[in-house]
Symmetry: D2
Subunit: 357 residues, 4 copies
């Protein structure tokens, strides 16, 4: 059943396979009158683009986004926006030897179980390439949020077991791992270099912060803001855990430690991550995701083929060492999409002034 649409009012449907003709996103429910150009979108695309850094895959995609509909004279019209990105550098041949094999850690086996058929070329729909469409759609959501002074940024908190220990906002744009701690970033690079030699891969942790969020976003009890953020972030392929605010650390605290006291100047701490009872409280909305290591490693692995016979597979192809940093704009996109949707949801039900009748 249909699972490729995200959001209730600001609705995004992504489509397309890694090695198909194109991937894309259709956004239905974007308000009219928002200035939007392909350049607005391209900015975020660049940060997700393959081949951007040493840790990243050499597949060279220009990832040029075209807007096929929903724009007139530079403004959104309120009708569906369709964004398309053509696949240019797909080397489907490199996947021929994987046609009958289930790669460990990938969706090959589960897709086959579900659909009885699978597009084996580059992971098909399960490929991280699908996230390019998310980033494109997220850029439109970001424009909407900017109208209201809401900003979303993400950065690397940990990679390969190395934690950022300082937070310097300006540092994030300075190193290609988008880590707010320069020294940690250097250690992470060293770790990447080391693991690359082994033909292995690394995971890490990304933190996402939204500032400028008004209080009141989120729809209890099932579409709480944290619930929808968790769903949104966990829908990213490499993510295996999500935290809001103190997250798992809250499980170790006492109530007196974890509660954020209210003062006339605002909350005195932010263990709740800007969300109380599922509704934003006006503070920064803070979430974190656990990113698993890339499953495509440069080492022989045990698996089975379509006949359930044991085989050894050597993946090869062009792969990143870590989903970080390319996953960072994807995380931002999912948070932008969630917030844009909740912003409009909240607007839908605002109290209507009595007409006096």
């Amino acid at each position: 059943m249909a699972g490729n649409t995200f959001g209730q009012i600001f609705r995004v449907t992504t489509w397309g396979e890694s090695h198909g003709i194109a991937i894309g996103a259709t956004i239905d429910g974007c308000p009219a009158g928002i200035p939007l150009t392909p350049a607005d979108i391209q900015q975020d695309m660049e940060r997700r683009r393959p081949g951007k850094g040493g840790a990243t895959s050499p597949r060279q995609e220009p990832d040029k986004v075209e807007i096929l509909s929903g724009i007139f004279e530079g403004l959104t019209t309120g009708t569906p926006l369709t964004l398309i990105i053509y696949n240019k550098d797909a080397h489907s041949k490199s996947y021929d030897h994987l046609k009958d094999i289930f790669r460990p850690g990938h969706g090959d086996f589960s897709y086959f179980c579900k659909y009885g058929i699978r597009d084996h070329r580059g992971g098909g729909r399960a490929s991280a390439r699908e996230t390019a469409a998310r980033v494109a759609a997220g850029a439109v959501a970001r424009k909407l949020l900017q109208f209201e002074g809401i900003k979303v940024m993400a950065y690397t908190l940990a990679l390969g077991g190395i934690m950022a220990e300082n937070f310097q906002a300006e540092e994030i744009a300075e190193n290609r791992l988008c880590c707010p701690d320069k020294a940690a970033a250097e250690k992470m690079e060293a770790r990447i270099a080391e693991v690359r030699k082994e033909g292995d891969t690394l995971g890490g942790i990304v933190e996402i912060i939204a500032t400028g969020c008004p209080a009141g976003l989120g729809e209890p009890v099932f579409n709480k803001l944290d619930a929808d953020l968790a769903g949104a972030l966990m829908s990213i392929g490499a993510v295996k855990g999500v935290e809001i605010g103190a997250g798992f650390a809250a499980s170790l605290m006492k109530g007196s430690e974890n509660n954020d006291a209210l003062t006339p100047e605002g909350f005195s701490s932010n263990n709740c991550g800007g969300i109380l009872a599922g509704i934003s409280n006006g503070d920064a909305v803070v979430s974190r995701v656990a990113v698993k290591p890339i499953p495509s490693i440069g080492k022989p692995q045990k698996t089975v083929n379509l006949n359930n016979e044991p085989v050894e597979v050597m993946i090869g192809g062009r792969h990143d060492i870590s989903a970080i940093p390319r996953i960072i704009p994807v995380c931002e996109a999912m948070v932008c999409l969630t917030l844009a949707d909740h912003f409009l949801r909240q607007q839908a039900c605002e109290l209507i002034p009595d007409s006096g009748e």
Copy 2:
């Protein structure tokens, strides 16, 4: 905007406030022909009931579930099931002194920001009492899953910083904290007793396991099974983090360590928590949640009133020391609801045999 419905096909809408006349759940989309009695539901209700143990609140609710519709001669009819639980032991008076005050760690402030109005009696809709309706609905989902041999169970993995270190399934029913490690359960109890004296509260970690799940459940790319589980679990008030399989630990592993090898006998490990690329792989589906400490503590706290003036508040009332163990059936309910919905979603799109035309 409407946020009180969970699921796409097996749809549950909960309603009711902590101190209103009743709370309830309406289930639309339950297949016809499933045997269902109030007793089937009551079983799960008992495990969530207030006043069940030393760690729990003394509010005495019988939590008797009545089935108002959707049943005929002991079978579901395919029409909506409405389950109702009357509130019997609500002491609204005890909340009078909180009318103009925002309790730290509760939804008081954010609800007020969102709706401009709030039912202050016992947290209104934001109360944990709402979860009784989830448990009732979850019990119906559980019946559906049992038809297919799918079982969902949860237990305490940590409480107040004390981790279970052994897993003995039979132990779970033996101690009131539902902890699979007897020795750990005893330490947890000691910790509870200690913290109770301080007037403080504790958090912990609950693990939920679903066994017997067929491969193929989950709808990429936004309604992946893990995404929907994360959203479902994070929608529980006390939950601040969700993990699938290895979760945050996966962020520390190398790809070669984290990948689950396939063998002719099945997967050789389960770091992915039974979900690959968002689709169940036939293995046990494993999730974990971080439970924050109960915000209602027996100590004076700093906060503000409706006029944004600083005040000190002493909560009082009848409260648990920890959301564990009462949150356990709630976690199970949310996993049952998610799996039941995905089971039907998968059934919707199964390949239709060609009629030969």
Copy 3:
């Protein structure tokens, strides 16, 4: 699959069977801060109540609506409203002889085909009794619309082949058939008396007008206002046709006749029924429904039983001669629900003023 919910933002779920314990409606997505009392709802209920007039069935239901949730100190809170109506005067025994028989014109056969099970008592969920829950929910939608000066009214345009030929608004409340033409109403009554003697039943046409509707409601291209109105009205059991504005008569006109000219003072005619390209144009929104004759007649009918054997059935029981006038508040309710939902949908996507960042 779930089909008992209406609306996208103002969402109503109805539940309950004709001869079950109760029927009801849960409304999720009603904005907070609307004054609402049971009396507001009761007013509309009275107009739908059985036993109100000579044409109507003698089942005596008080149809007292209780509000179980979502109200605090007389105002809606933004949380789900649950409305409940207990069934008091169900005579299930009168249906015992129909247990194994499919009544012609009723849902008995199709329900059995779909669910493999059926609550035969009074039609179960397929009973017109379900519409009481619609009327209750519609009354809440009406309150919301009144805030904005939108009014919805319906009346009898035809009954048993007799058409109203004059329109006098004040006459509608004067005769029990709610017909704006006094002379026609009298002829209709005579026709009813005649057909009652034959043991037969009658159909007719109801027109529904919404005034005060702002321009801009409706969501092209699938949730156009006329599309959603058509779906809403056709979901009423007895309705077999829906028209907007000139409706079928438009199929006979030339473009030059059918087009409504715009003038500085507004549209010079309203063949479009207040809806252009699926969006309200500020004029009165006009729809009409064809109501089939009540299928429960007082004559022997040919049908089959569960074994597909031919039998003759004599329905008996307590039935109306025509669904008119009791269907009138149901038609109004469906239009109110559609407009309330679209009002909020439109509000969701209104242009957000640029914050100047």
Copy 4:
């Protein structure tokens, strides 16, 4: 708010404007394993194509459909199908003089009221061109239905006041108006020729029949099969009325005339149009739509401009005399989409055999 998606399980989102780069449809929820080629789709496209007959507009669009995603080796994969049709022959210049004018009978005024902005070129999103995307998506639904032996066909029942009085199925493909009555078709052609000279346009009635439908489709009480068909058909721009079975004629019948008797061999009549209580009964599903005359006429018309000043407008451009016959495949498409969705919805909730636990 998002209104461009149709269906709950077989979900179609259309996008694109009349004079934009392209229009298209994304289908999410199509089962895997269905053979599908562009040729399957092209067949239906040809029947809707501009310039197909004397009654039709001379805009020359090849309407070649490309499948951008969701297909692998000739089979659907269960992932979203995106169909794209490039706009080739848009003459936007011809609309320059209409930029500041609201055309009578078109969506110009209401779109402007809703969005505060409008793409005036050829009606933008409100253009009948949008229906090309519906036909493309409908062709995929038709493939799915064919698997199950369900067939959907439509034909002209009336045009310009001339009714078909005979039904000869084989005649439908013989005349370009798709009328089952040859003599009537000839009269209709004469009427078209006459009205063309006047610079005027005509409406009519289309009937749609689905055969081979299993009993059990439809989801009471709001997503009844007839309710969803009515919404689907009324969402077509030119449609102002919808009937099921006897439709408005049922309002003139007595119950004893309208009821369809059941016999061991099936229903003895089909006044209900194959739908009882909103659920298909196994008979032919019959619906009819009233098609208004094309609003773009070749005569001067009174209207207002953006400043609400009275002006006279002469539309010009390339327009059809009647939406019939080109609307016929559009009607079929909407019925196919509705049935495909309900087929899968029904499949979702079929009784699950007890696993014996």
